[in-house]
């Protein structure tokens, strides 16, 4: 008799799916916005929007914190990471931000009205953001403030047409109907 019990059978595939409003469609490769944005700059810190990758349902980007190479790097304070506030504003006045608020619960609540912002990663070097919803033509504004690091309210604009053009270039990986 073996000392070890027989291995359990592999678990069946999970039915869990991230909701459509919480990430890009998994069956696509996104289109790329060909610019990176400098949103804020002080003598010690800068905040960039980088890696803008666009799907027909919304877009991903990195919220990047940079520290001046000539400045000593402080001990990271986890309480401060979450105080980097980001707001994305559409030309029609709608907006979304990473402020504290109730998150919709997948599969139970109806999808949030776009735009809706989900920051999946948060740390001393910034984070990663998914924005549900595409902007209308016009200026697309990224605004931030970070009181803990003395970054005052700052903003930069992007032509939303670049985002819409990238959305149109997103590619379906398996355009034919799925296997039956």
């Amino acid at each position: 008799m073996s000392f070890f019990e027989p291995l359990p059978a592999p678990r069946p595939p999970s039915d869990y799916r991230v909701s459509a409003w919480a990430r890009g469609p998994e069956g696509m490769v996104p289109g790329v916005v060909p610019v990176a944005l400098l949103v804020a700059r002080t003598s010690t810190h800068a905040v960039l929007i980088d890696g803008l990758l666009v799907y027909p349902t919304g877009f991903d980007f990195d919220l990047v914190v940079r520290r001046h190479p000539g400045q000593p790097r402080h001990h990271p304070d986890p309480r401060g990471w979450h105080e980097l506030r980001l707001e994305v504003r559409f030309a029609d006045g709608r907006s979304a931000d990473n402020g504290p608020g109730r998150w919709p619960r997948p599969h139970r609540d109806k999808p949030p009205d776009p735009p809706w912002l989900y920051q999946s990663v948060s740390g001393p070097d910034g984070g990663h953001v998914w924005l549900w919803g595409l902007p209308p033509p016009g200026p697309l504004t990224f605004a931030c403030r970070w009181p803990a690091e003395q970054i005052p309210p700052s903003q930069a604009e992007l032509d939303a047409g670049l985002v819409l053009a990238a959305a149109a270039r997103a590619t379906s990986l398996w355009p034919d109907p799925g296997p039956s």
Binding site: Y16, V18, R23, V32, A36, A46, D60, P69, R73, T171
Partner: protein, 201 residues
């Protein structure tokens, strides 16, 4: 001072000067130039690997890998059995070699960097010769989609720049897509300093 008093403790340093070496991350003081590439490196009826958004700096470039599974496959590992975030835990020459997703970049002069290169210590001296490859961000959503941000230290010479993948256990043979390295070099030249004035002026 009586012997019962505790000795004075050295003050804790309030600041840390340590910075990660240049071969694991982009320079802190530069806004990158972007090459809007949108590539499908490999695609089978069940899996696909895409590469998008080259961010070019004077010292190297970053990009995003998209790992996609069309539908659940029984026994598929939640991480796709692909990269390990820290470059450890998988022996690419061992029993599980075929399960290891290979990814690399190849320069026109024959130099290359892959995720099979030996794991390096951050304090390695002397610094490795470019190109090197480093996984910066690794994020999965469910079993169908993963995103991996990669940093390549070292700019390619003019000529073809190859992105190569192979995933034997997943039915993906060695697959290669090439772009003109001039696109990356031009984007690196468009990178902008964040703080144009040298420190101290």
């Amino acid at each position: 001072m009586s012997s019962s008093e505790p000795p004075e403790l050295p003050e804790e340093p309030s600041e840390v000067e340590y910075r990660r070496p240049a071969w694991v991350e982009p320079p802190a003081d530069v806004v990158p130039g972007i090459v809007p590439v949108e590539l499908i490196l490999a695609r089978t009826p069940q899996r696909a690997i895409g590469l998008t958004g080259i961010r070019a700096y004077p010292t190297g470039f970053g990009c995003t890998l998209h790992l996609r599974l069309r539908e659940d496959i029984p026994g598929e590992q939640s991480t796709f059995g692909a990269f390990n975030m820290f470059g450890e835990g998988v022996d690419p020459a061992g029993e599980f070699a075929d399960w290891y997703l290979r990814f690399g970049v190849g320069f026109a002069d024959g130099r290359k960097a892959t995720n099979l290169d030996h794991k390096r210590d951050l304090d390695e001296i002397p610094a490795p010769d470019p190109p090197t490859l480093w996984l910066v961000r690794w994020e999965g959503y469910d079993r169908l989609a993963w995103e991996v941000n990669v940093w390549v230290w070292g700019l390619p010479p003019p000529g073809p720049l190859a992105f190569v993948v192979e995933w034997p256990a997943r039915g993906i043979p060695e697959s290669r897509v090439e772009i003109d390295a001039g696109l990356v070099l031009e984007a690196a030249a468009r990178a902008v300093p964040i703080w144009p004035d040298p420190p101290g002026r």
